[in-house]
């Protein structure tokens, strides 16, 4: 297990490095930020000063070496747009996105486990069919459309929640629900099928024969074993949640990493884009790593490998 995790960490470091190199050169291909940050009639001396201060006058390889050197001390450079260290901007935005993702995936997991377990208890019952169809529908809805229709119904028409912002608890309700719908739809299907196979296993038959209550069989005996695939898929959804967060943060004006990255791409704020890509990728890696450990705790059989 330790060997496996070490190997995985090393390979992830290689992937991460590849990603950073890719983003560094890609970002430079968009052209110099000078045109975006100085007035069109700025004198040549001013342009040269701007390039020199931010190091854009150096040859590309020199910029790259400096960038790699900065990485070692967690220095991603200054944000052009806001004049503060890029990493600081990203780390300030990160909690919002992480909380958004955490609440959504938590909500999706609860919905999926309860619905999936109940649907699996009597396969092909009315409840099962409705749950299956609804979960398929949930997995098929475009995020941005749900967000817009949600704003229309719950914010504009019913006025239950605000349309945007992050100040109050009420402002989190709509974004969290919007983000949870697709993973919930997918996870219900996974939970249902893994519960069905868990319920048909020998240990459940034994529990039934001993006269255990249905609730005990579902939640104590079967669910713990059926959780593994659900957690795996939930982990795979993490990157998808970040995708969704970009859209949801844009629509609801949330100051998270998704919105920060979009704005930085548009304003050629290279340092922030690089820092954002790096931090997001690290966050996803830590999450997958945690899931591996959770997996080992839940399933003793995987510990040996």
């Amino acid at each position: 297990m330790t060997y496996y995790l070490t190997k995985r960490t090393l390979w992830s470091a290689v992937s991460l490095f590849g990603l950073v190199v890719f983003v560094f050169f890609m970002a430079r291909l968009t052209g110099s930020p000078v045109d975006l940050y100085l007035p069109i009639d700025a004198p040549e001396s001013l342009r040269e000063d701007f390039e020199r201060i931010h190091g854009f006058d150096l040859p590309l390889w020199q910029q790259f070496v400096d960038f790699l050197g900065g990485l070692l001390t967690f220095d991603f450079g200054q944000s052009l747009r806001q004049g503060v260290p890029a990493l600081e901007l990203v780390l300030r935005a990160m909690p919002t996105t992480l909380l958004l993702a955490l609440y959504s995936i938590g909500l999706a997991l609860i919905v999926a486990i309860v619905t999936g377990a109940l649907a699996a208890w009597r396969p092909n019952s009315i409840f099962d069919r409705i749950a299956t169809l609804l979960s398929l529908l949930g997995a098929s809805l475009p995020n941005f459309w749900v967000a817009i229709v949600g704003v229309l119904i719950f914010a504009v028409t019913l006025r239950w929640v605000p349309t945007s912002g992050t100040g109050s608890v009420a402002q989190w309700i709509l974004p969290v629900f919007v983000l949870a719908i697709r993973p919930a739809g997918l996870l219900v299907q996974v939970a249902r099928s893994s519960m069905i196979s868990a319920l048909s296993s020998a240990y459940v038959k034994t529990a039934q024969a001993k006269g255990a209550a249905p609730a005990r069989i579902i939640f104590i005996h079967a669910l713990r074993n059926a959780m593994l695939p659900v957690i795996t898929v939930a982990g795979d959804q993490a990157a998808g949640i970040i995708n969704g967060a970009v859209i949801v943060e844009t629509i609801f004006g949330f100051p998270g990493v998704g919105k920060l990255l979009i704005d930085s791409i548009m304003f050629r704020d290279f340092a922030v884009v690089q820092a954002g890509v790096m931090v997001t990728a690290v966050a996803i890696f830590i999450l997958n790593f945690t899931i591996d450990i959770v997996y080992a705790v839940l399933d003793p059989r995987t510990r040996g490998h």
Partner: protein
């Protein structure tokens, strides 16, 4: 001819479900049938719709500006309402169906071909080449695809071909990993080993003995992926880095309608409904396809056929 042909011949003679048998199976699953019918209607509309519509959906009609849906006296085309220039929504949905479906289809085909090819190499050859392929896949997968697509599209400009290529690249790992996993499992089976020891070439072994075993899984995957890619294109277009005017897709229509949300909800609502319906139909169909192409599970559908007739 050498004896390596025999396993292939045997495979050909094995009773396989014919096209008609597959259709009979489709008839058993009501939801899958409805999904298939809906998809056929949408594809037909996308193919023959635009020329038949003529100017409907393009010509402005200022009398019908933001006309609400379900007012039959405005005529059939205005049944789902009209946009800010009085163009009927239904006609515009039909016009947008073609680019929407074409972009998704092109991206799915491109990523499938590249992914399956690399997956076959990584799975059958393995070695250093296989390792390099898998590490590159890890890089693509270690980052949210939408953000990656945004960065790339911002650099190369949001043309339709770029959207297709970007979507394809972010989805290649899915086919690659699936194909590789299948190949790793199949290549150690007796019929593959038999083909190899009787002197079948690498090309023959892969194309005649391994590929046919992978095809059903890939077909199912493509159905789900089509839905995924369609949603991804809609998201990109919604954020303004996807399809650009004068072309428009369902995602663009949702984005354009957003500014009229409080006064004319139908502008954003209906295109989104079509995205959701097509996506859901594809999901239903892929569920059915997975069972119908799996010899172990096909009896579930066949038994219902037998009991019904």
């Amino acid at each position: 001819m050498n004896s390596a042909v025999l396993p292939g011949e045997a495979a050909r003679r094995r009773p396989r479900p014919t096209k008609w048998a597959m259709l009979a199976l489709l008839r058993r699953d009501k939801f899958a049938l409805a999904a298939a019918v809906f998809l056929v209607v949408v594809v037909l509309a996308a193919l023959v719709g635009p020329p038949l519509l003529g100017g409907i959906g393009i010509d402005m009609d200022l009398m019908a500006r933001n006309a609400p849906p379900f007012e039959p006296d405005r005529g059939f085309w205005h049944i789902l309402g009209s946009d800010a220039l009085g163009r009927p929504i239904l006609a515009r949905i039909i016009i947008a169906a073609r680019p929407t479906l074409l972009i998704a289809a092109a991206a799915v085909l491109l990523s499938m071909v590249v992914g399956v090819l690399l997956g076959l190499i990584a799975g059958y050859k393995g070695g250093i080449v296989g390792d390099v392929i898998m590490r590159l896949t890890d890089i693509v997968m270690s980052f949210p695809s939408l953000l990656l697509a945004l960065v790339v599209l911002y650099i190369f400009g949001p043309a339709i071909t770029n959207v297709i290529i970007v979507l394809a690249i972010t989805r290649v790992p899915v086919y690659l990993r699936t194909t590789r996993a299948e190949v790793l499992e199949i290549r150690s089976r007796m019929f593959v080993v038999a083909a190899e020891v009787t002197g079948a070439s690498v090309f023959r072994t892969v194309s005649r003995h391994i590929l046919p075993m992978v095809v059903p899984t890939i077909a199912t995957l493509m159905t789900i992926e089509f839905a995924f890619v369609m949603l991804a294109e809609a998201s990109l277009s919604f954020l303004g880095l996807g399809v650009q005017a004068p072309d428009f897709t369902w995602g663009v229509m949702v984005a354009e309608g957003r500014s009229y949300l409080a006064t004319a909800w139908w502008l954003s609502f209906w295109p989104g409904v079509f995205i959701a319906l097509v996506t859901m139909s594809l999901n239903l169909l892929s569920n059915w396809l997975r069972i119908a192409t799996d010899p172990v599970q096909r009896w579930r559908l066949e038994r219902e056929v037998a009991s019904d007739e």
